[in-house]
């Protein structure tokens, strides 16, 4: 147990003297190395337990290996729709009470859907661990999928799409980037999907999807917090052992070739306030060694005000309101994108393009400086030190590492892989992936008003 103490001092500033000290509250934090225990139930559910006594709290995270890439092209949005349905209720949990149970116990819960996975997290005071396990086992064993729930969530998901995408400036960026960078693969549509497919689908199709993917052999349960390992093992068995194993889940088999994929598209939307330019390239999957060098590259290009994109485009030349870069690492492929939003409606996108081209050319031709390299490493180390601050973040990271690498311990060595990237690797990956043959250009221009 790590102690945190809070006390009050008066600093001896300008004649003040050091004064009283009062202990007020206590709290605790993360460990440098995350230790864990892993076991597999007979039904194939992989379980990871990790003790963290920082606070009297426990987090459960259930990772289902199903995301938008597991969907049929004519049934996009299914995985995300399911994330919503799983809050509707189960055989023993009446409709609209999952949240009440958790929140009434002083906990919180959330869920998300990506291209590769659907994740469910619950955090509760430690004496409510059974509640979290019961809810997750109910959801895995017998979620109720009926007309009422489906109708309600159809409406909610449509509203989510409207408020998050259709009505937001540049809300369609991810959809458009995916469409062109992921063309020809299951990464060409996004988790939110298209509303008409959810409308077209029958109840039977939803039940089939549940039966196919929400099975223990397609899931990882991670549990982190103030727990007793042996007792928790017994509890996990009591709640999950009886859930029957499902048919083997086949993940989509495709390659994400880095080839000639160049496209240029103009996008005109009513809500676009200022012209914007997006460059995006295909990059390798998250397990590929180059994905680490690409992370450092994006740090050099876009993290902070001394980064190349900010310094040149926002600060010195004042062409852009915002200029950033982000890598997207997925199970079967990745993307690297740059985004610049014009400073004014009249600002030509050609000027922004010229600048972006020059920045890319420079990093490809000359690489990065020693100082930039050092800065990127320190920034990455700081991020890493920040990343396991809470039990739920730890649980998510452990489940993720188990699901994709069959090795939860990988979370302790991820920093080593980042620190092993050499300066010349960064120039190398820029040359390998940020090519004109592989470049997708999206131009958000202003509507005629």
């Amino acid at each position: 147990m790590v102690n945190t103490k809070v006390c009050t001092k008066l600093l001896a500033l300008a004649g003040f003297s050091v004064a009283a000290s009062t202990v007020m509250v206590s709290a605790h934090g993360d460990m440098p190395v995350v230790e864990y225990e892993k076991f597999t139930l007979d039904n194939g559910l992989r379980v990871i337990l990790s003790v963290d006594t920082s606070a009297p709290v426990v987090a459960t995270f259930v990772h289902y290996h199903v995301g938008s890439k597991n969907e049929r092209p004519d049934r996009t949005g299914f995985a995300h729709f399911f994330e919503h349905l799983m809050f509707e209720g189960t055989k023993h949990i009446p409709r609209n009470t999952v949240d009440k149970l958790v929140q009434g116990a002083g906990g919180r819960l959330n869920a998300y859907t990506t291209f590769d996975e659907t994740g469910y997290q619950i955090e509760v005071p430690k004496n409510e661990l059974k509640l979290a396990l019961w809810i997750e086992s109910e959801r895995m064993l017998h979620a109720v999928i009926n007309e009422t729930g489906v109708e309600t969530q159809r409406a909610v998901v449509k509203e989510e799409r409207k408020s998050r995408l259709d009505n937001q400036p540049y809300g369609s960026i991810l959809e458009n980037v995916a469409k062109y960078v992921g063309a020809g693969t299951p990464y060409e549509w996004t988790p939110i999907g298209s509303a008409q497919y959810i409308d077209q689908a029958t109840i039977e199709e939803f039940r089939q999807f549940y039966k196919q993917f929400y099975v223990p052999n397609n899931a990882v349960l991670a549990l982190v917090g103030d727990i007793d390992i042996e007792e928790t093992k017994k509890l996990v068995k009591a709640y999950f052992d009886e859930i029957p194993r499902g048919a083997e889940v086949k993940q989509p088999d495709f390659t994400f070739d880095i080839g000639k994929n160049a496209v240029e598209e103009e996008i005109v939307e009513e809500q676009t306030p200022l012209p914007a330019l997006i460059y995006a390239w295909r990059t390798p999957q998250q397990s590929h060694p180059d994905s680490y060098a690409l992370q450092l590259l994006t740090t050099v290009l876009a993290q902070g005000e001394s980064s190349r994109l900010y310094r040149t485009m926002v600060d010195e030349k004042q062409l852009a309101l915002q200029a950033t870069s982000f890598p997207f690492s997925l199970e079967k492929g990745g993307l690297f994108a740059m985004l610049a939003i014009s400073r004014s409606p009249a600002q030509s996108l050609d000027e922004l393009a010229e600048e972006l081209d020059a920045i890319i050319e420079k990093v490809r031709g000359e690489g990065i400086t020693d100082q930039e390299f050092q800065r990127a490493r320190n920034q990455i180390e700081t991020q890493y030190a920040n990343s396991f601050n809470s039990v739920v973040e730890k649980a998510r990271a452990l489940a993720h590492a188990e699901a994709y690498y069959a090795d939860p311990g990988r979370i302790n060595t991820e920093i080593d892989r980042l620190m092993a990237v050499r300066k010349e690797d960064i120039q190398r990956v820029a040359n390998a992936y940020l090519t004109t043959e592989n470049l997708v250009v999206l131009k958000y221009t202003l509507p005629n008003r």
């Binding site: 790590v2 102690n3 945190t4 103490k5 809070v6 006390c7 001092k9 600093l11 001896a12 500033l13 300008a14 003040f16 050091v18 009062t22 007020m24 509250v25 709290a27 934090g29 993360d30 460990m31 440098p32 920082s54 606070a55 009297p56 709290v57 609209n96 009440k100 929140q103 009434g104 116990a105 002083g106 005071p125 409510e128 109708e151 309600t152 409406a155 909610v156 509203e159 409207k162 009505n167 009513e270 809500q271 306030p273 200022l274 993290q303 902070g304 001394s306 980064s307 600060d315 309101l321 400073r343 100082q371 800065r375 320190n378 920034q379 990455i380 180390e381 700081t382 030190a385 809470s390």
Partner: protein, 432 residues
Amino acid sequence: MPLYLVQHDAQSLLTLRIVLRSGARDDGEFPGLADMTCDLLSTGAGERNAITFARDVELFGADLGTAAGRDEIRLELGVLSRFFPSAVTLAADMVFRPRFAPEETERERKLKLAIIKQNRSDPDWLAITTLRKLIYGPTPYGHPIDGDERSVRSITTKDCQTFHAATFVPDNGFFVLAGNMREKEAIQLLEEKFYGWPGSGFSLARSPLMPVRDRPRIVIVHRPGSAHNAIRIGRLGVARGDADFTTLRLLNTLFGDYFNSRLNTLLRESMGYTYDAWSNMEGTLDPGLFAIGTSVRGDRVGKTIKAIFRELDRIASEPVSLQELDIVKGYISGRQVLASETPEQIADMVTTIALHNLPHDYYSRTIEHIQSLTPEELLGVGSRYMRSDEMTIVVAGDAGALQPQLEEFGKVEIVDSRLGCIRPRYLLSHHF
């Protein structure tokens, strides 16, 4: 200047926060002044210009910045503990020796104007900004923290320098240091770096601000062809120090501030009208804004507002059930546990306690208070603060479709996204 230490030895990071008891509420006639001043502090200090300053901060992998809130300014440095002694020098430079180079003011000004322009295309921003303006008028809580075009165009470097000189003084704030440190060394280091910080005889000659006491209004912010409609409904709430604050906070949670709230259950789960519906209560030094928000399709706006009004009237006239009350009590108490996991979270609690001059055991007292509240006490507060006929309504969307639906609730005013013609009808009093 007081220093609060949050010692936490299993972390490799250290966070230093300097909190000053001045904020956007002190902008005076220049909305956005505190915010602009804060932004300029990062654009060069001591021997470094904007570029070399950012470069040297980031070389340590550190985050160093200043931000203005309504009641306070926070300077925050987050860095790996081993770099703290070097990075803290840069923080001290920001406090003592900011450059305030005029060319940086121009750069920031342009950037801010572009951001404000971008905000004006965001229906949520338009709706909440309008609501705030209607409730507070030209009083210190009435404008967006980052100001408006008129003001941002007119703020000078000199204004920012003066604001900095008046507010960045040791008798106007406190330090919070949280994370992995050796206590003695840390104190010694801060004393060394901040030694000789001159006081100013600064005193907070501040009368409580008196917002507009106006009849509720109904305003449409016209966005031609808007695909979606942002609804904001609200009124004046209470100050954090008010005797009703904790009771109202519990009521607000029950009503709209957690997933199972009445509002979200009705509009999202039962009616399927929206992705989320919420209510929020600010915990500011003077009475903050109580606001309800959601987004719905154009033809459902009238029905949505009716549903929200029915829920408000229910809160204002019927006692809540013990069962529902227990769920909310459990939720708030548990949240408290979950919110004290990291040193940064503890630092936040310490900041609130110090800023509002609250007792050291404020958080545990609040939980005890919440556990003791009865349906009758809640009804008393609900009937005073949550009546639908005292709420102002703002909707950002296409006026063509909205106007007939809103006229059911009273006289409708329509403005465009510049919000230029929004003025409170009269002011009772305004001291500042």
